[in-house]
């Protein structure tokens, strides 16, 4: 009984994680697009993005921990943390481990962004575009519920949502309204000399 509870928890947390992660990715893209409306100020996008990202990690942790402690699967911690080390569905679980570690790096660098510099943070944040598809593939490849109608609907909605956001992002030119002013200020002040 306790084993089946763990197994359901793993599957449920996995489904919730992919929904949350997709929302986080969409919000991240929307914040880059500076989307806002009458009842949707811009800080709401970034605030939600940040908080949902942390919540995603919580469900991801639940997903991983319940899978590992479930004695029926007998995966072990190494399989969860070291990609492609699992005896069971080596490739698909490996994708999950990769996605997990990428997300961990993305969140960790965001928390210490002031210390690593904006460029380094941005570079690592781009890894989201790897982490998210890898996570979706992991779900498609090894999910117990993958081919049930409700899970298919969830996966399709996630792919459609993120896909639409990416298309919007690609279609919109850089809308940073400060870019020209900033470079004008920089050209005006750039000076350096030494004795």
């Amino acid at each position: 009984m306790s084993n089946s509870v763990l197994w359901y928890a793993t599957r449920g947390a996995g489904a919730v994680t992919i929904i949350l992660l997709s929302c986080v990715v969409i919000l991240g893209i929307l914040s880059a697009l500076r989307v806002q409306g009458e009842s949707w100020p811009r800080f709401l996008t970034t605030g939600l993005h940040r908080n949902l990202a942390l919540m995603t990690l919580v469900f991801l942790a639940l997903h991983i921990v319940t899978a590992v402690v479930d004695t029926y699967t007998n995966l072990g911690w190494a399989a969860a943390l070291i990609p492609f080390s699992s005896y069971y569905r080596t490739f698909w679980l490996g994708l999950g481990a990769i996605a997990f570690e990428l997300l961990l790096a993305i969140v960790a660098t965001s928390l210490v962004r002031a210390y690593i510099g904006h460029n380094m943070w941005r570079l690592i944040h781009w890894l989201t575009y790897t982490a998210w598809p890898v996570a979706v593939l992991h779900g498609l490849g090894t999910g117990t519920d993958t081919w049930s109608a409700w899970m298919l609907a969830i996966t399709a909605a996630c792919i459609a949502g993120v896909g639409a956001a990416i298309v919007l992002r690609l279609a919109a030119a850089s809308r940073d309204p400060l870019a020209t002013h900033r470079s004008a200020f920089r050209t005006a002040v750039e000076r350096r000399d030494s004795r």
Binding site: A114, Y115, R192
Partner: protein, 370 residues
């Protein structure tokens, strides 16, 4: 010993070690660049992290348009500034000293260069010059570090603070030139001069720099500057990042080097000048000095300046004055540096000291139906 009367040859610089930071602490010396931050705390932070690689960034940018005291000091007493920098380099075991001097302060730069030629100390080898662009934000600590590192005098977000990771990534002491001159006197004589440099602007008989005794009042210092040319309506204490005060209040203000005196600019608004127009002009200046990195600063200060100008020109929109009050508070803390904060505090003080003038200036002419 007063700063501006110090002899140009005070003999060899005394040997100082880490114990000097305790002397600094006891002296209670506060920075004279504007923030009034404890010098000993700053030195301790750099000293703890320095492994012989610290950098001393001598801040002579003086970007505040009304302030003249730093360049007067550098021109008249370059040796005191160098003394202070060398003491800092010894105490904090520095590898490099950068003289960050405003690009327009040619006399100051030349005086420092001449003084350097006569220095026997080994620290001489550590010195390089960097020119600070004539922009308001260029004097901010992080902007100074950014210019030396990358060539852009734009402020960066903190942390990491310069004392953690500054020039070349090393712990860096960014210190105003007047503060360093005080350090020099403390190292040489064992006590502080007990004075502070002020710049008088506006309606005084002798506008310019005055060295006033700590503990006296602004009223006394104005008398030193020849007295007001007419009875001033109000006093701008601390420059554009300071605040307007009623004359009676300002006259009584004791000269203690705290943040309220900022960089030491005392601007007297003569009777008959329109304070709303002056405030609008200064707000426009500050808006134009935003480095366009943070939206709330770049757009917010522009909106504030525009609303001020509309009121000054008697063509305000309905609600402009209320919005000014709200925005002046809201813009604070919304930038990577303190530029929006300084402008917001300045504007809030104007709105309170000149409340009647602002109210009388807002007749909504443009929006009245014919």
């Amino acid at each position: 010993m007063r700063l501006l009367d110090a002899h140009s040859d005070l003999g060899p610089l005394p040997q100082v070690g880490r114990g000097f930071i305790d002397a600094l602490e006891r002296s209670g010396l506060a920075g004279r660049g504007g923030a009034g931050f404890s010098t000993a705390t700053k030195w301790r932070a750099v000293g703890q992290r320095s492994r012989g690689d610290a950098v001393i960034l001598v801040n002579g940018a003086e970007g505040e348009p009304q302030s003249k005291k730093d360049r007067v000091l550098m021109t008249a007493q370059p040796h005191l500034v160098l003394d202070g920098a060398f003491v800092a380099a010894r105490v904090l075991r520095a590898r490099r000293i950068v003289l960050y001097i405003g690009e327009r302060h040619q006399a100051a730069r030349a005086a420092l260069a001449r003084a350097l030629e006569r220095r026997p100390e080994p620290e001489l080898r550590l010195v390089t010059f960097a020119a600070a662009p004539a922009r308001y934000v260029a004097g901010a600590e992080a902007a100074a570090v950014h210019l030396v590192n990358e060539g852009f005098a734009t402020p960066t977000t903190v942390p990491p603070y310069p004392f953690e990771r500054g020039v070349d990534g090393a712990p860096t002491l960014v210190q105003n030139v007047e503060t360093l001159a005080h350090v020099a006197v403390l190292a040489r004589t064992g006590s502080l001069p007990g004075t502070m440099l002020l710049t008088f602007a506006g309606g005084v008989d002798h506008a310019g720099v005055v060295e006033a005794q700590v503990g006296t009042t602004i009223g006394d210092a104005v008398a030193m500057a020849g007295g007001p040319s007419s009875v001033p309506r109000a006093v701008l204490v601390g420059g554009y990042f300071g605040r307007w005060m009623r004359r009676e209040e300002a006259w009584q203000l004791p000269l203690t080097p705290a943040a309220v005196l900022g960089c030491g600019v005392i601007g007297l608004l003569p009777e008959g000048r329109c304070p709303v127009c002056d405030t609008a002009e200064i707000m426009s200046y500050l808006a134009g000095e935003s480095s366009a990195q943070c939206g709330p600063c770049f757009f917010g200060l522009r909106a504030l300046a525009d609303a001020c100008t509309r009121i000054a020109e008697q063509g305000s929109n309905p609600g402009d004055l209320e919005r000014l009050h709200r925005w002046a508070a809201e813009v604070r803390g919304r930038g990577a540096c303190k530029h929006p904060d300084g402008a917001g505090i300045f504007l809030s003080s104007a709105l309170s000291v000149f409340a009647a003038d602002f109210a009388a200036h807002a007749p909504h002419v443009r929006w009245q139906s014919a």
